[in-house]
């Protein structure tokens, strides 16, 4: 623990002089190696990183509008909270925090923000982030499940997870290295999904474009893509065996796997079912080169 505190103090020293209008914080506390950690902050940047220790360490700076950083932990749960005055109505720069929060690698981490962006890495137990307009990024590593929801921010997920759910209103959603179950939804943002071992996926938008480039694991079941007015572009293995159900009411269909009119068709038995539905958006089903 002494070494930890020295490291934290070292980090504080390095930051000195750069963030003069903000207060530096460095707090550490023991925590369960696979417990639940809830983090709340209004604005700024939150970086969550998993590490091999059974403790939480919070370092960084807080704006003058933030009263304090509270770190609480019991046997199974912990809480990191940036307290702000109750009378605050508008989010401004004084409420910003810039925090790096180290958590036990096996933790399940939930983060709630208003405008703060969240970046997570190396948290294996699970990540659940909800923000009003902040961006959400989940970087390298494997995570049991990822849930990301932001109204106005973007979502970018590069970590591997067998269960990913992400929703935005008009923010873009990008998921790379997808496998297992993926559910992505937006109203007017863009969805860009890449993965080579999907078992099931549901992608939907109202006006946003939906792009997929990838393939399915053996035994995959269902792949559903639907939009009202966005473009759907699916780049699929040229030899894909699947049952297609493609319905495009008023949009244009470009289909390299079956009839130009869409409908029900198959490229062989035993593959997944692909449902593609569009009211007026263009649909492109393309063979990967």
């Amino acid at each position: 623990m002494k070494r930890l505190m020295l490291l934290l103090l070292g980090g504080m020293t390095l930051a000195n002089g750069v963030l003069t209008a903000q207060e530096r914080v460095a707090v550490g506390r023991g925590a369960a190696r696979d417990g639940t950690i809830k983090i709340t902050a209004v604005a700024g940047v939150i970086r969550v990183a998993g590490w091999m220790r059974d403790s939480i360490a919070v370092t960084g700076t807080i704006g003058t509008g933030v009263e304090r950083i509270e770190v609480f932990a019991d046997d199974r749960t912990a809480r990191v909270q940036a307290h702000t005055p109750r009378s605050v109505v508008d989010v401004d720069s004084t409420l910003e925090v810039n925090l790096e929060i180290r958590v036990p690698r096996g933790s399940y981490v939930g983060v709630r923000t208003v405008t703060a962006s969240v970046e997570a890495e190396g948290v294996e137990g699970g990540i659940d982030v909800e923000s009003e307009t902040g961006d959400i990024r989940v970087l390298r590593g494997g995570v049991r499940n990822i849930y990301a929801e932001t109204a106005g921010g973007n979502v970018d997920i590069a970590a591997r997870s067998k269960l990913i759910r992400a929703k935005t209103v008009d923010g873009n959603i990008g998921v790379r290295n997808a496998l297992g179950f993926v559910e992505l939804a937006t109203v007017s943002g863009r969805i860009d999904l890449q993965g080579e071992a999907l078992s099931q996926a549901e992608l939907s938008s109202v006006s946003g474009d939906i792009l997929f480039d990838g393939s399915f694991e053996r035994g995959a079941f269902a792949f559903s893509v639907q939009t009202h007015g966005g473009t759907i572009e699916l780049r699929l293995p040229a030899t894909l065996v699947a049952d297609f159900d493609v319905r495009v009411l008023k949009g244009r269909l470009e289909n390299e796997f079956g009839p130009a009119t869409g409908g029900l068709f198959s490229t062989g038995r035993g593959g997944p079912r692909l449902d593609v539905t569009s009211f007026k958006g263009r649909v492109r089903l393309l063979k990967r080169q």
Binding site: T84, R112, E132, T133, L264, D275
Partner: protein, 213 residues
Amino acid sequence: MTHPDATNLHEYADGTLPAASVPVLEGHLEGCAACREEVGRLRRYLADVARLPRSIEPGRDLWTDIQSNLVVRRKRDPTHPWTRRVALLAAAVVLVVMSSVITRMVVQPRAPTPAMGLDRGPEMLVRFQQTEREYARAIAELEEVLEVARSRLAPETVVLIERNLAVIDAAIDEARMTIAQDSAGVEVLVMLTQRYEDKLELLRRVTRLATQS
């Protein structure tokens, strides 16, 4: 061909089938489109169920308490981001609609329509009009809740929500117009249903955001 029993399919769909039984069942699924479809249907259903609110507290009327609290607490209270009271009401509203709509539209197998433009029976249209009324009622109730809570959202958030509600409304109008022109089949009803779901979902989310922030 002997099909797996329903219990095994359910367990497989939700990932609880014993590992030793999985290869046998998957072997069957490879050659059985009906069971594959059934598992796919179950998974879609499970996914829809997963989207339902995680908890509600039935059995007492929360609205009066919620409304009075919201009026008093119009200002942001960022120290209580997991406030749930309005979310519970929104959840209850959504649950009412979902319980009927899921039963009608999702749990039932997808209509085996080979193409757009199939005939719609009067019974289906009447049933759908009833569904539309349920959606309209649920949407109106959520909009009422949101109207009270919207002052707790950042102005830019309100703008983006209104902009995207307009996007959904335009999509709803287009689908309804297509139905009115009698040039569409059951698939347009499904698409229209999805747009109503989108609107409900957005209202529910923004209401939750308003109570969290």
